[in-house]
Symmetry: D2
């Protein structure tokens, strides 16, 4: 699978995996390994980075193997998100980690739905871009907001397939198609990443078949009954979906000798 | 990925691939190689086996590598199908190919839709079972017919996800779930294979996530823009879907903190 | 809404309603009234027709208003179904009810799923047609079986949208489209009725928009929280769906100025 | 069907119909009549209100029968939308029409998709509310933006089911459910109206079954093959969907005796 660029980074894998919600650090490490990813995202708010026993999550990650993408999970306004993004930069700079120059921006509306807040998100994007960050921004699947975030300088727009942790996959493929049209016309290599909502391997493959550049996920692996096995499934599904997209699928038909899925339907007939 | 048994055969790959509709024999051979399959299905009617130049398809297949599953494509009644099945047995016996003892039974209703004919299918199944064949039977997704075919002695029931060559994937997951319930209760290793209709890698992964044992396909690879690449995608998707099924996916929710996808819907309220 | 013919009967309403599962006879009567139907179906097995108190359901139905369509619910093989159909004919003949000449045939596979058994169904259809019945036959959505039942002499084929009482609506519109193609080509007025599975008003409207001639339902009204109100909803939905079908809907597009729902999707691109 | 309130207006019909795109004024008038609506929306930009022959659309509408809801269609930023809203108020005040006090706000991103622009929409909402308008605001299905628009003072939030004129119905029922949760918790009578995207009667019924208060549409009637008939279908579908919602539908099950649509699916099993 060919690599792709996001900002100043080149990623070999199109799957980006989160580091939260695992039962143990060992399970996390093995899942990351099996996922085949080379970029992982880490929440940098103190209460997320340091666990109850005082362990720093970064101590359990092979930072020579994975590029760290710091994220602002747990932030509910632009001010907070900007502050946390800067904290992430500091932490990674101290570690001389190449992830210091970028951030996955999450500005959430509330703890119940974890949906992104569009107003605070755009404000934070502008500030972080001004600050010199490569901003990868989590947003809804609204294509107009996606375009505005690109215009604000985000290096990648990451629309949700469905709410974080909901496991529903890409609920509105129509919206993602328009996002792709808006974001990639005249700029085909601009990276669009589905962030949030996938629940199974087929969700990942279906997302990739829409023509997005990558998928970011966490709960679908971490909360599967067998996270390590699911990590392997997601790796294979991401590659399968990308290749399926590039290979050019057969058209959908009512049956093989019909011309479309609608053949056989009389959509109008004179009043009888 | 663990192997599975169908009749007297043990298959390492859960993907079974057809050999029709390729532009060239070389493209077919490369696609089969990339699909990772160890079982391929071959139509044994003379007009399908021998091309216009007099070439026999079997001469272009590495029969030491692939188990041949002869099929009765192009047969429209039981009599014809039984005759063709016997012809297949003869051809493969002459080649000392282990595929001589089984057959993929297709008894089709007409050339337009290529849908299976339930009445002729059950009749042919009974005759072929009596003849000593291991019968893998192509059928609709009707669970009652599926059960009847198992009861008639078929070693595998292979419901269509959607019509042959339609590329619509599994259109009725409800029916496939009931097929699985009927066919696997008290007999969990009975092999159920989705035969026909898949169009893309995500279709294959989604089918496997239902808990079926394998997927059989042809057009989705042979008529893709790039068959060889699509073959690789299907291999990865089949493995991804199987692992995703075994790994135990997260439940679907309206959002992560909700209890179901229906939360938030008031399904009844008193008249106002 | 224009009337339609089924066998020797002309129905003013395209909604046919069952009479089982109501909390009280009064609720049943009011629901039937509000549904606007002029044909109701009644199970004629003794244990269904006569309740624990010895009341005969037919005594609670205005037989001068509704045409009775006797049905063979509760029969699990052809012999039983034929016997019950003849019983229904006797009962309705004694009442001088015009419903004596037709029957809704149900030959079920088991009590768990209430799915139709194709083998017994076709056998019973042949016998009842030979007996002079107008047979309306409940079947799966398998188009080939539908065509065989028409060929066996059924005056109406009634494919299930989904299992009886499941409330899932028409799960496989593709199959229903092919049923319509098979049953109506060269015979456009042949009546096709969706029998079973609808759960809500939109399910009924969507079924009618496929071009079927009518919908038969029972549980969706009888087990709604407010059956009488739901009966009114179903009446309106059936009319809405029929008119929506006849009025000729707008095509689906990605957005208004696009040419199809797939615009914006690059389905193939050269390897990069 | 019970009436509902939007701002200072009480509407008897839950269907609000647009006045654009009809072939003739006579067809428009007859369609509006058959739709049963008592509120119609009219674009007040001069080029939309006055046709090529100098006819004013309002001269062809019975303003004593219909409440006029002026809209800002054709506006692509807040400034323009506010100006056009004020123009609408003037026109309707001159006619002593009660519609002078409210406005349907559309602030669109571009002419290609006609998707709403969230940033300009919220700005215009704030200005129009400050100006004393009752603002009914067209927006995406993003629940967070919906809540922000309510908080900005909109008397009704009107999420799109899908893009204007696309005929795809409600593509993301999950988002609409969360919109309803956000907008109606602690305020159950707050009116939520699906604006845009419906294509057929079943789309309208399905939207109403989600629990929204009304549906606003235009193209689905005006561009149907037979607009007048479609208008009647939409009236019936809106009533059907409302009653179906209030009547409390049966739950969805795999089959009647199963407990859920997922029964029969083994979602996890130990490695074999």
């Amino acid at each position: 699978m060919s690599s792709f660029r996001v900002g100043s980074h080149t990623l070999a894998s199109r799957l980006i995996v989160g580091t939260g919600k695992y039962a143990t650090y060992a399970q996390m490490a093995e899942s990351l390994d099996r996922s085949g990813c080379d970029c992982i995202t880490v929440a940098v708010r103190r209460e997320r980075l340091i666990d109850a026993e005082g362990n720093n999550l970064l101590d359990f990650v092979d930072t020579s193997r994975y590029t760290i993408l710091p994220n602002t999970a747990g932030c509910f306004n632009a001010e907070d998100a900007v502050r946390v993004a800067r904290l992430g930069r500091e932490i990674l700079s101290d570690l001389e980690n190449p992830g210091a120059d970028w951030v996955k921006l999450e500005c959430l509306a509330d703890k119940r739905t974890l949906l992104p807040d569009p107003v605070e998100t755009i404000k934070a994007t502008e500030q972080l871009v001004a600050d010199g960050f490569d901003v990868l921004v989590y947003t809804s699947d609204d294509p107009v907001m996606a375009k505005r975030l690109k215009n604000a300088g985000a290096v990648s727009v990451m629309p949700a397939g469905s709410p974080i942790g909901s496991g529903q996959g890409v609920l509105n493929t129509n919206s993602i198609k328009i996002c792709l049209e808006y974001l990639k016309e005249d700029d085909p290599t601009y990276p669009v990443i589905i962030d949030a909502g996938v629940g199974s391997a087929s969700d990942v493959a279906a997302a990739m078949e829409l023509g997005v550049d990558g998928v970011l996920l966490n709960t679908a692996i971490a909360h599967a009954k067998d996270p390590v096995r699911m990590a392997g499934a997601m790796k294979a599904a991401c590659e399968a979906g990308r290749d399926s997209y590039l290979a050019g699928r057969i058209p959908k038909r009512l049956y093989a000798t019909a011309s479309s899925p609608d053949e056989g339907v009389i959509t109008w007939q004179p009043e009888s």
